[in-house]
Symmetry: C2
Subunit: 337 residues, 2 copies
């Protein structure tokens, strides 16, 4: 894949320099390290929310730092976890005494580093940190009831950020913001499809191969193996298969409400995302499921992968309230802040 970049080893830092130059009203870095990104407008007394993970998923994570959503994030190299020290730096900067909630995807490297950061924040700085690990990819194996979640975190984390951010901005305390984040995380399910691979800049060749007439249902956002590979099918067939898997995993009663996110993975045009949204609507309507709100676009990408994912968040009145709350970040604006 051709890339418009300079030296691959500078890819992430130069991207970050561009973000800081383009959005000075929204974000700055905590300390010298460009990879520790925090909001320009710390809100005193509010629970801080931090996230992080590997680069290569823009607008995740950086694009959601701002009013009503996140207060900071730390990023690693492309598809690499940031360090515990980075997370600690962000944590120190965003805590104003009310504690900090970490929300991150269910990947071993991130879990290891964020847990260590939480421990350091508590021991060294006296900052109370709680954690919510988001994992909602229906294509990855499900743990037995009561066991630790084994599913990958993908695009549905957007909903977790949005609801938790709404709760924190409403002045809720740490335990309550955590409860809302957990509720959103447990109510969301995602399924994806990939048509092409993507290339990590420092690696220089695609992470996998896929034939010109094939697709892979359920592939993860770092190219993790999906459920099945087959001939490319029609948008309606693909959407039906993906949505059935989601609805089997988290059944809806007729009359229940959902928020829907149709997310482009990088190279797939918005046109195709809307064609899929149309079919999602038809299927949900047939089942009596009301769509409270649609989000269509690139929310969580895999560099230049072609493909998309569908996420459904099951809603109740409480989550609807937090979903409706205004937000203003470089990549997500809603309502009047």
């Amino acid at each position: 894949m051709k890339k418009i970049m300079n030296a691959p080893e500078n890819y992430v830092n130069e991207m970050l320099e561009g973000i800081y130059l383009a959005h000075p009203d929204y974000v700055t870095h905590a300390g010298e390290n460009l990879r520790c990104l925090v909001t320009s407008k710390i809100v005193e007394g509010k629970v801080g929310i931090a996230t992080g993970g590997g680069s290569g998923h823009l607008p995740l994570f950086l694009g959601y730092v701002g009013k009503g959503m996140l207060d900071g994030c730390s990023v690693g190299d492309v598809f690499q976890s940031p360090s515990a020290e980075q997370m600690l730096e962000v944590t120190k900067r965003i805590d104003t005494g009310a504690g900090v909630l970490y929300i991150y995807g269910n990947y071993n490297g991130d879990i290891f580093n964020f847990e260590m950061a939480a421990e350091m924040a508590d021991m060294e700085e006296g900052i109370k940190v709680e954690q919510v690990v988001a994992g909602e990819d229906v294509a990855s194996p499900q743990a037995a009831p009561g066991e630790k979640n084994t599913r990958r975190g993908v695009a549905g984390i957007f909903f977790v950020y949005k609801c938790a951010g709404g709760a924190a901005t409403a002045g809720k305390e740490l335990s309550e913001v955590k409860r809302i984040a957990e509720k959103a995380a447990s109510n969301v399910r995602t399924m994806g499809v990939a048509l092409t691979p993507c290339t990590v800049p420092r690696v220089g060749y695609p992470g996998f191969e896929i034939a010109e007439d094939e697709m892979e249902i359920g592939m993860g956002i770092h190219g993790e193996p999906g459920i099945r590979r087959g001939k490319l099918e029609s948008a309606d067939e693909i959407t039906t298969e993906m949505l059935e898997k989601i609805l089997k995993d988290i059944p809806y009663e007729s009359g229940e409400e959902a928020a829907v996110l149709v997310n482009g993975l990088g190279a797939t045009p918005l046109d195709e995302q809307y064609i899929v949204a149309r079919r999602v609507h038809q299927i949900l309507k047939e089942r009596g499921i009301e769509v409270y709100r649609y989000y269509v676009g690139e929310y969580v990408t895999s560099i230049e992968m072609a493909g998309l994912s569908i996420s459904l968040l099951k809603l109740d009145e409480e989550l609807k309230g937090y979903l409706d709350a205004p937000a203003d970040t470089p990549f997500f604006k809603q309502g009047n802040v």
Copy 2:
């Protein structure tokens, strides 16, 4: 290129169905024809602003219909002009007595159909229509002074929409909204680079070929030939070449201000767009040009083409005011409306 679609002949209408289902608060269609899109919230007494052109450029045009920007648009098939009848339908729906301004890109098919629609609106409906044709692609040939503009309209039209929309929303009359649109159109310049072709769904094969190690500087958004084809260079080299061509075409004095749009053409990740924004900032700083605001992302695409464009809008106090005005559309939100 693989596409997530159903029958190619339904591509545009199914995309439109998705848009109407996803954004009912923002847009609806005028009459039965899905391809005549209008705002759900007509503002009485305001000058109406309409645009249109071929599909395949989302979020252009549909994504900019809403408060503070456009009131309607008509679209054709992918890369095909809409008909004069469609434009007339949109015009009738959005006129509330203050007249309608058409803003569209400098392409023969669009000019022909929009001029006919303007004539029909005047003759048959008594609606006063003015027109501004946006053409700012520095890579296309420039007409002699005083001659009709021969340049292609590309991503810079976003700035024309934004400023004209600000003026119309401020209650300016038709001649004044037209003057502002013309001023924005004459102050903006764009240069693009393409790395891969794109495929019109009904055609089924790419519009051109380009080698795996090549780029084309100055290619148009429908694959029109650019200025030169060569080996893929670094982001800094590409940015420098593109920006020099823009700054030679519309010179800036030290201390003058610009708005900058770094626009992804479809398959190019945001990361790369920010790497380019970083270099744009360095070059403008060296020349003493102040950047008033950055816009980075996919604003005007070419289906799944890889590449990007840089647009500069030269600002004065008047344009800054209209650029700052709040807007709320499916794809562009700014400030509190």
